[in-house]
Symmetry: C2
Subunit: 312 residues, 2 copies
């Protein structure tokens, strides 16, 4: 059995961790958003890949919601002394990942080769694939002008209203090695409860990935990021309002309609009634047990969706 | 009054600090060896410049003899976990210097511009000039084959016997902006008690710097690194033996003979008697008072040498 997960940051990493606790990690392929990647202080930073690597290796700072547990901050303190740009926090241990990745990318290694090396060093069983080895950069047209993703997300703390979101480079980007094969061979394809517009859309914006999803034989199911009429965290709800969408599962379902067979929604939240398979569960993932529950529910919905595909 | 100091690592930084305590720092120009510079993990590292910046800003770890005081090591621990090369110790605070320098060099800034920015950020009054903005790399032919300087000095701990020392790039290197002007306008030019073969020779190997020293109007005096028939620290004594030299002030005097007017030697050590001006003092620089004493002695010898030049 192979399960593919399209995933972005923290919420997606939680689902992948849950999956890795209910099935052999070796049978899971995570296809990770790289639209948030950026160059900062001359370093190549891949926030979503790193969040997943930290989460799966038990190194994530789960209280803070980003970075490594037990991190020290000597670099940032010295950087500030020297007048360096300090709006993006780089922990001392975290830096090792960025310095090594930057060195290897400059030497000609691809992002997927570097990512695999990190996963192996930390004995991560899940296959972690960047969506593409080509640079794709999420950019937002906002009330204060165009912003790179990290400028919007970290430096401006998602305050500026967003008019439009672009994924520069996506049109010409090739899927990373293994991405298309994993989708084509998957028994189930899951879309994590990451931000649909900022974390999942960049993946869907790579033409060959979208095409592979549309012709995949395995069922595709998403976990809605909406809980109780709001988003669990991050700018999802604010962004949906700015994009003229209602903050509900109908909007999520419409957004993913072309690619999904089913949607996991938070118990009690209104569910769309347009032919999508729906499974209700508590989708809040606070504890490991929560993550396992959501993983099981998502796999169960995928199984139903698979049966329905076979029956058609 | 302007005093120029040719300097390498720790010993040289001590003399410059002593000088900065007995005269206005703004009247001191340090011309620093860059033969030890290297690229490591994709970062541009300038050990001798950094040692001087740390020393003059009060940030140096004087117990350890290199790096910053109060340093943390989260980066190295994480680097090791990832299988990165860990023979060169990079403290978390130290990294800020290397990351910013690497970024700015890649963006096209020169090493001297970057060095000046760091010195300004830390309110260092002494003018700190790299000997050259062009790469000069000290390489050693050793019993185990050719080695880059840091491979020899740090990774191999100076164990392999040295047959020859080369300064790749020196022939074609231009002095950094300000170097020639400082030498030409100096009231005194001091050669710090740094390793003559590894720290000072790379500076003298830049043809225009050597020529400027030979035609300088100000007197040139060196501080001998020999104390009690041995070198204070580092590989100087071992290296002199391997190069077939006696470990004494005669050998030092012969080595510098073409460029110096005088030599400061450690009190009690045999002094060369070949017409060089000699001043004896305790040249061990353990405390700040020691550094001030050696700085005063060196300035005094330079003054004598200047008077002799005028009398000729």
């Amino acid at each position: 059995m192979t399960v593919v997960v399209l995933t972005g940051g923290v919420g997606g990493a939680k689902l992948v961790l849950g999956l890795a606790n209910v099935m052999p990690p070796e049978e899971i392929v995570a296809i990770v958003n790289t639209g948030d990647d950026f160059e900062h202080l001359g370093l190549s930073i891949s926030p979503d890949i790193d969040t997943l690597l930290y989460t799966l290796s038990g190194k994530a700072n789960t209280v803070q919601g980003w970075g490594r547990a037990g991190e020290s901050w000597g670099f940032m303190a010295a950087l500030r002394e020297l007048g360096g740009e300090d709006w993006f926090q780089l922990g001392d241990g975290d830096l090792a990942l960025h310095v090594l990745r930057s060195m290897r990318l400059r030497a000609g290694d691809s992002l997927s080769v570097v990512t695999r090396a990190f996963a192996q060093a930390w004995s991560i069983g899940v296959t972690v694939l960047p969506m593409s080895d080509d640079p794709v950069r999420t950019r937002l047209d906002t009330a204060i002008g165009p912003l790179d993703f990290q400028q919007y997300f970290v430096r401006e703390r998602c305050v500026p209203a967003v008019n439009a979101i672009r994924f520069d480079g996506a049109d010409g980007a090739s899927p990373a090695p293994g991405v298309i094969e994993a989708i084509a061979g998957a028994d189930a394809i899951l879309i994590a409860p990451s931000n649909p517009f900022l974390s999942i859309d960049p993946i869907l914006a790579v033409p060959a990935i979208r095409a592979a999803l549309l012709r995949a034989s395995g069922p595709v199911v998403a976990v809605s990021p909406i809980v109780g009429g709001a988003a669990v965290k991050g700018p999802t709800a604010k962004l949906m309002t700015e994009l003229g969408l209602a903050i509900d599962n109908h909007a999520i379902a419409r957004h993913y309609r072309a690619v999904i067979d089913g949607l996991v929604v938070h118990a009690g939240d209104p569910a769309p009634a347009d032919g999508l398979l729906i499974l209700e569960t508590d989708t809040m993932m606070t504890t490991l047990e929560d993550r396992i529950r959501v993983a099981r529910a998502t796999l169960a919905l995928a199984e139903s969706a698979g049966r329905r595909r076979s029956a058609v």
